[in-house]
Structure formats: structure tokens, C-alpha cells
Symmetry: C2
Subunit: 108 residues, 2 copies
């Protein structure tokens, strides 16, 4: 395993669903990248057992976490602990690039 990963080497565009790539899958942690083009949505959903985060690298999105909905841009950490519903829409004009992780990894 290469311990050094350039996030931008794993970004991309996918349609109709947004781009997803796994960067690391361990026994206790998974890390990935999500890219949403303008208008793309990751629907609100819940992980029963996983603590999850998004870190906004580029672009801007409108995130829903529990009963909160808020726009967030680069440098924002968005937290969605287990059982808390969460989703995101790219409400900006450029690609939204998110570094994300879950602990423990979701069942494959």
C-alpha cells in the first residue's frame, strides 16, 4: 500500500450519479473522495453504525445533517455520526470535491 495519495489523482466526473472513489479501506476506517458536478445530489441517507465526515476540498455544497441544512465551502468539516441522516447537493457553479471517511468501514 502506498501511504501517499494525491486526492486529485482520484477525482472525476460521473453521470448520472456522482463520482466516488475509495482511497483506503482498513478494518477500522475507510477513506474516499466524492465529486459532485453542479446540480448533482447525494440524497439524504443514514448509516446505522458508521461515524462519517466530509471535508470540503473545492467547490461549495449545501449539506443536510439531521435537522440542519447549511452551505459549506473549502475548509469545512461536516460531521454525521452514526444514525444521523445526511446528504449534500452541489449548489455551486464548479465541481464539489469532498474528502470523506467512515469508521468503521461500511459493509461492502
Amino acid at each position: 500500500m502506498d501511504p501517499f495519495i494525491d486526492l486529485h489523482s482520484r477525482t472525476g466526473k460521473s453521470e448520472p450519479k456522482h463520482h466516488k472513489a475509495t482511497l483506503f479501506q482498513g478494518t477500522q476506517l475507510m477513506l474516499g473522495v466524492n465529486c459532485l458536478e453542479p446540480g448533482q445530489v447525494q440524497r439524504v441517507h443514514t448509516h446505522a453504525h458508521q461515524d462519517k465526515f466530509y471535508f470540503v476540498v473545492e467547490g461549495e455544497g449545501t449539506f443536510t445533517v439531521g435537522d440542519r441544512t447549511q452551505a459549506a465551502g473549502p475548509g469545512t468539516v461536516v460531521l454525521a455520526p452514526a444514525e444521523v441522516e445526511h446528504g449534500v447537493e452541489n449548489t455551486g457553479t464548479v465541481r464539489l470535491t469532498l474528502f470523506m471517511g467512515m469508521a468503521p468501514p461500511p459493509p461492502s
Copy 2:
């Protein structure tokens, strides 16, 4: 708990040891920020049970992971699974800001 955290609101300078702040501590995941001023070092160490990552937000550092030593800048994910030794030195000229996480959280 506020699910939205601006990483830059939790950065800072500390001496002689580098700045550390916890952003989230759950049962399965902890997230934090580390800031190293030029020349500051996080010595090589190991977590027996935690999978850990660093994500370089700003600046440049020289990371050691296992038998690899490599410079890394913004957008690089650095992976240090459990039992793999790791450390970092700010070998650049500006503050090195790292978003980091561990799963499970280390004992307090």
C-alpha cells in the same frame, strides 16, 4: 454538537510543541487539526490499534510512514494504519496545517 466546523477556526500556533485541537471525538472516530510551524516536528511514533490519516490542507511537510519518507503538499492524504510508525516535519516556509483522524479514537 454543531455538525459544521470551519477548520480554520481551530488552527493556531503553539510552542515549543506544535498546535493540536480536537474537532470531533466519537466512539469510533476522532478528528482533529495539527499545525506545525516551519521547523516543528511531530516525532515518529506508532499507534498500536488506530488507523490514522493526515490530509494536508496548507503548507508542505516531510512525512515518514514505515520505511517511506516523502514531502507532501496540499491535497495529499497520508495513511498510517495501526502499528505503522509515522511522523512529520514542517520542512516548508509557512505553517503546515493538517486535518487528521484516527479510528478508533486513542485512549484519553
